[in-house]
């Protein structure tokens, strides 16, 4: 629980500042610092044990089936990072107190920084890779909000967008890499992944995995070529830059490389990729930093170069190099944060960040000059300060490299030259800001005074820099070695610091120092040359390519989804044809092993008529009435087809449905134009025909391929169990009401919903134009011919009796609720047609919507009846009874269920028909039906 508290405290504490946004700035800052401090001291209390080599792991099960557990891990490595995050975080909060000094946005800042702190803590303390990924993305998101903190400025918005695009893009790659890693190992638990290093390095996908993970880490840690976002993130308020872009977020990528060191590092590929990225970033950052006139810009590029240095060391792959990298990381955090804080103050007090104007500030801020001077000297690597040792350790390490060949000769020279540049830019930020003559044309002149206590947050940081400079061996022995042990599982010997005080490392740093000073001295001409170089604004290029990308996707979307149903259908069908066709590639021949059954004249005739009718419908579809009649012909042929091929139930259903479908379409047609205009072009018709032909051939071929192949079905079960378990001999009906009763319940529900939807639509539909357009008054007079209405009345009782018979026998012979319902509906439809809507409605006792509801309820309650008796939903039972007059009869509980089906079918069908019919009564839409 202690572990969870460490990151939960800042997370929950983030709400604290929001609650007291309007109170005094000290109260606000203390409230924000409280959770951070609590976390910090919690960590401190654990420190001795962890440095002694203890590893704390805590696991809460989350989604065990995915191998996902919420596990936290705290060892010496994560401890160092966590201490940096909380410790520097506290000082940043204090600094923000002076930086924002009562501005209303301060509360938002505190809340975001605390959330960010929690995310970083979660990241360094994750024991599960997937959990780590979640925190990783969380840092990207929160940093987006922080960089875009002053969202009214265009630069801030663009910088935030750029950093999100790059770091979150890297996050995607990282996710893919970690998933691959987890799949290879079979677990996402860090301890298991780290133990499986050899297996991972030997695996086939190692290269891909490594590249993906490095993409994520490099994007986060701003390694070349993903370094672009970091300088542009300087649009953020300075506390954000000091915290995220010196001490924490950019170190997340480094942390990942250290954490996964045993799993991934120390292979030739690792060495090449990581070292090269580090080298490039180191040199690029160090060189460009010198030429930045913006203080924060200079610091940003110098941060880049230090990150490159750390990455370079990690690339070497040895545990010692990792320990040195960690050492430098700590030094960097402590000397870079004060410099950022200084930059923030200077910006606020003078109103400018341009070093061409800011000069000679030592007169105004002597103490700040001292503190910045110490930090800058440490950054340059001057003796007796922290950076001195880390840099010389780097030089020594670069000399020790023998493999690969290119690194052996190049590396020492490379790091020395980079060291030279770093001396130059350190010199510049100190000398240029605080000395170098007098201020030029400052917006605030003389600069505003700086409160003494505002320097409070800088002092501990500078002190630590001094202390590390005094006792580097203590830090290395008691902190770096346990951390390196925790990271690499290799126990290192103590580092001999005396070897640094002479020989090549000394000469190299001397050379860098003198060269750097000379370089700085020659800055005048160099700046002039630099100014003449063409300026490349990465942000503009990025924005332009982003705009290009969005424009391209937008036009793609508009082209695909232009709002035309025809376009959508064509695309869907095309995809369908391509995918199905593609997946059928493996089929050697369409015809299977079964012999075809011989042709019969009746079948041939039926098929010919059907085919011709189908073609004709397509051909004459613009003449709507004839096309509809032909469609009816096809429906009837389908009925015959079902009847012929042993499906009496289907034939009965199709017959009744066909009648009503044609009636409905007929009704609709009376409102719509009778002819479709000729509007498709030749080309268009050809395309559609090709597409339709493709779909048709595919369906036909598929059917042919299946039909000529041996057949096996799961239906044997249904056939065997029908009488025994379902109590009926009509297996189709038994399946509907018993075996698959739940399906049927769903289906009648859909039917009911569709009918109610039709009802709702017709309710508000006013067909104004119809009466005037094509109504023949003569025809209206004879709308209900006497012969028809008399016959219809005669037919009704007979039809109802037939439907009752069909209903009752349905369990054993063709029939059942669906068919009986349709027959009843047809009989009533005939009454509507013969007698007119009003006439029929007056005599109809039942409303249709309640009928649908009742049917659904009957069906559901029948199913629940079995629940009451302790059987699963919809379990059926049946028995044989002797009834007077009727003789022996079998009654099954499913009969009741079928009654529900019957009621829904009748209700739904008549609700649809009645309401459509209502629209076309002569008087216009009358009272709604049902």
């Amino acid at each position: 629980m202690k572990l969870a508290l460490i990151f939960l405290l800042p997370l929950v504490g983030a709400f604290l500042p929001l609650g007291i946004a309007r109170k005094s700035s000290w109260l606000l800052a203390s409230c924000a610092a409280l959770p951070a401090l609590a976390s910090f001291f919690l960590l401190v209390s654990l420190t001795p044990d962890l440095l002694a080599g203890q590893v704390l792991i805590q696991t809460w099960t989350w989604v065990p089936s995915l191998g996902l557990s919420f596990s936290l891990r705290l060892d010496a490595l994560s401890l160092i990072f966590a201490l940096l995050i909380t410790g520097i975080g506290c000082l940043i909060l204090l600094y923000a107190r002076f930086y924002f000094d009562g501005k209303p946005s301060a509360a938002r800042f505190y809340a975001l920084i605390l959330i960010f702190m929690a995310a970083m803590l979660g990241l360094v303390m994750s024991e599960n890779l997937l959990v780590m990924l979640v925190f990783w993305e969380m840092t990207s998101l929160v940093s987006f909000l922080l960089i875009g903190f002053t969202w009214k400025s265009r630069d801030a918005r663009r910088g935030a967008r750029m950093s999100l695009a790059i770091t979150a893009g890297g996050g995607l790659a990282l996710m893919a890499g970690l998933v691959l890693l987890g799949l290879e190992v079979g677990s996402w638990q860090l301890s298991e992944v780290l133990a499986a290093g050899d297996q991972i390095k030997a695996s086939e996908s190692y290269g891909l995995m490594l590249v993906l993970i490095l993409l994520g880490a490099f994007a986060k840690s701003a390694q070349f070529p993903f370094h672009l976002w970091l300088p542009h993130a300087m649009a953020a308020p300075t506390p954000v830059s000091a915290y995220l872009h010196s001490a924490t977020m950019v170190k997340a990528g480094i942390f990942l490389l250290m954490r996964l060191h045993p799993a991934l590092a120390d292979t030739p590929l690792w060495l090449d990729l990581v070292t090269l990225a580090g080298m490039t970033t180191l040199m690029l950052g160090a060189f460009v930093a010198m030429f930045m006139h913006d203080i924060k810009g200079l610091l940003a590029y110098s941060t880049l170069s230090h990150l490159g240095l750390i990455t370079l060391l990690l690339g070497l792959g040895t545990p010692l190099a990792l320990a040195i990298a960690l050492f430098h990381l700590i030094c960097h955090a402590f000397f870079k944060a004060p410099l950022f804080m200084m930059a923030g103050y200077v910006d606020q007090l003078t109103g400018s960040r341009d070093m061409q104007r800011i000069n000679g500030l030592w007169r105004y801020y002597p103490l700040l000059t001292l503190l910045s001077g110490l930090s800058a000297a440490a950054m340059a690597g001057l003796p007796l300060l922290s950076g001195y040792f880390s840099k010389k350790m780097l030089f020594a390490e670069s000399l020790a490299i023998t493999q690969p060949f290119w690194a052996a000769g190049l590396l020492p020279v490379w790091v020395t030259v980079a060291g030279l540049f770093s001396v130059a830019y350190s010199m510049r930020i100190f000398h240029n800001v605080f000395f170098n003559g007098r201020p030029v044309d400052l917006p605030n002149y003389p600069p505003k005074p700086l409160l003494k206590k505002a320097l409070l947050p800088l002092i501990p940081l500078v002190l630590i820099t001094l202390l590390i400079g005094l006792w580097p061996d203590w830090l290395f022995k008691h902190w770096m070695l346990p951390a390196a042990l925790a990271a690499t599982q290799v126990s290192l010997p103590e580092y001999d610091f005396t070897q640094l005080s002479g020989g090549w490392p000394l000469y190299m740093s001397l050379f860098a120092l003198i060269g750097g000073l000379a370089f700085y001295a020659a800055r005048g001409p160099l700046f002039a040359i630099h100014a003449r170089l063409p300026e490349v604004d990465a942000k503009n290029i990025f924005e332009r390519s982003m705009h290009g990308l969005t424009d391209w996707t937008r036009s793609l979307v508009y082209n695909l989804e232009n709002g035309s149903l025809q376009r959508y259908l064509a695309l869907i069908l095309m995809t369908c044809v391509l995918l199905v066709g593609w997946s059928l590639q493996g089929l050697s021949s369409w015809q299977g092993s079964l012999a075809m059954t011989p042709l019969e004249p009746g079948f041939v005739l039926g098929c010919l008529v059907m085919a011709m009718a189908a073609i004709s419908v397509a051909k004459i579809h613009r003449h709507r009435l004839p096309a509809l009649l032909l469609l009816g012909v096809i429906g009837l042929l389908i009925t015959l087809f079902f009847a012929r091929f042993s499906a009496p139930d289907l034939a009965l259903t199709q017959l009744s449905v066909e009648v009503m479908a044609v009636v409905i379409m007929m009704l609709a047609l009376s409102f719509l134009p009778q002819e479709s205009p000729q509007e498709s072009t030749k080309l268009r018709k050809t395309r559609d025909l090709l597409l339709a032909g493709g779909v048709g051939s595919l369906v036909g071929l598929l059917a042919f391929a299946v039909l000529t192949r041996p057949f096996s079905s799961i239906s044997d079960f249904f056939l065997a169990q029908s009488v025994e378990g379902g109590g009926g001999t009509n297996v189709v009906n038994v399946i509907l009401v018993d075996f698959r009763g739940f399906d049927t319940l769903g289906e009648i529900t859909v039917l009911g919903i569709a009918a109610v939807a039709v009802f709702a639509f017709t309710r508000e539909l006013h067909l104004k134009e119809r009466v005037t357009s094509n109504l023949n008054l003569q025809g209206v007079a004879e709308a209900h011919p006497i012969i028809l209405s008399v016959t219809a009345r005669l037919v009704l009782p007979i039809a109802l009796m037939v439907s009752a018979y069909i209903f009752l026998r349905g369990h054993n012979l063709p029939g059942g609720g669906f068919i009986a319902g349709l027959i009843t509906a047809v009989a009533f439809t005939l009454q509507y047609m013969a007698g007119g809507l009003v006439w029929a409605q007056e005599r109809m006792r039942t409303q249709f919507r309640p009928l649908i509801g009742a049917g659904l309820l009957i069906a559901t309650f029948t199913g629940m009846g079995s629940l009451v008796l302790g059987y699963p939903f919809l379990t059926s039972t049946f028995g044989h009874f002797d009834l007077p007059l009727l003789g022996e009869i079998e009654l099954a509980s499913v009969l009741l269920f079928d009654l529900g089906v019957y009621a829904v079918v009748v209700g739904a069908t008549l609700l649809i028909l009645g309401n459509l019919g209502r629209l076309m009564t002569v008087a216009g839409p009358g009272k709604e039906v049902g």
């Binding site: 499906a647 449905v657 048709g696 000529t708």
Partner: protein, 112 residues
């Protein structure tokens, strides 16, 4: 017989799809109906085309496959409900948009 059936099915589907791609709602409704016929008999044929063997116990020694029949039976009924729904939708669209074009605007055929 299977070959002839497959050809007929293919023609039915082709006509259905072709009508589906037309620009007027009524043609689309016709197309949908044709297509649902095609789908129904396709599904039905998966239980093989057998004569004189309804899925009734005791009626014949080799009853047909009842499962596709049960599936198709409900498909027919639901297909009817959906046709009705589409019809009303088409009417509503024609009244509200003053056009029976599927895109709601008069002949403005989109590019290929």
């Amino acid at each position: 017989m299977e070959a002839l059936f497959a050809v007929t099915l293919g023609i039915l589907t082709t006509s259905g799809v072709y009508l589906l791609l037309r620009g007027r709602t009524f043609s689309v409704i016709l197309g949908l109906t044709l297509l649902s016929h095609a789908v129904n008999i396709f599904l039905f044929s998966m239980g093989r085309l057998q004569q004189g063997s309804p899925a009734l116990i005791g009626f014949t020694d080799h009853p047909g496959d009842p499962l596709p029949q049960a599936l198709v039976l409900t498909a027919i009924v639901i297909g009817f409900a959906m046709t009705a729904f589409t019809v009303v939708l088409a009417l509503k669209a024609a009244v509200e948009l003053r056009s029976d074009h599927v895109d709601g605007e008069d002949p403005n055929e989109d590019r290929l």
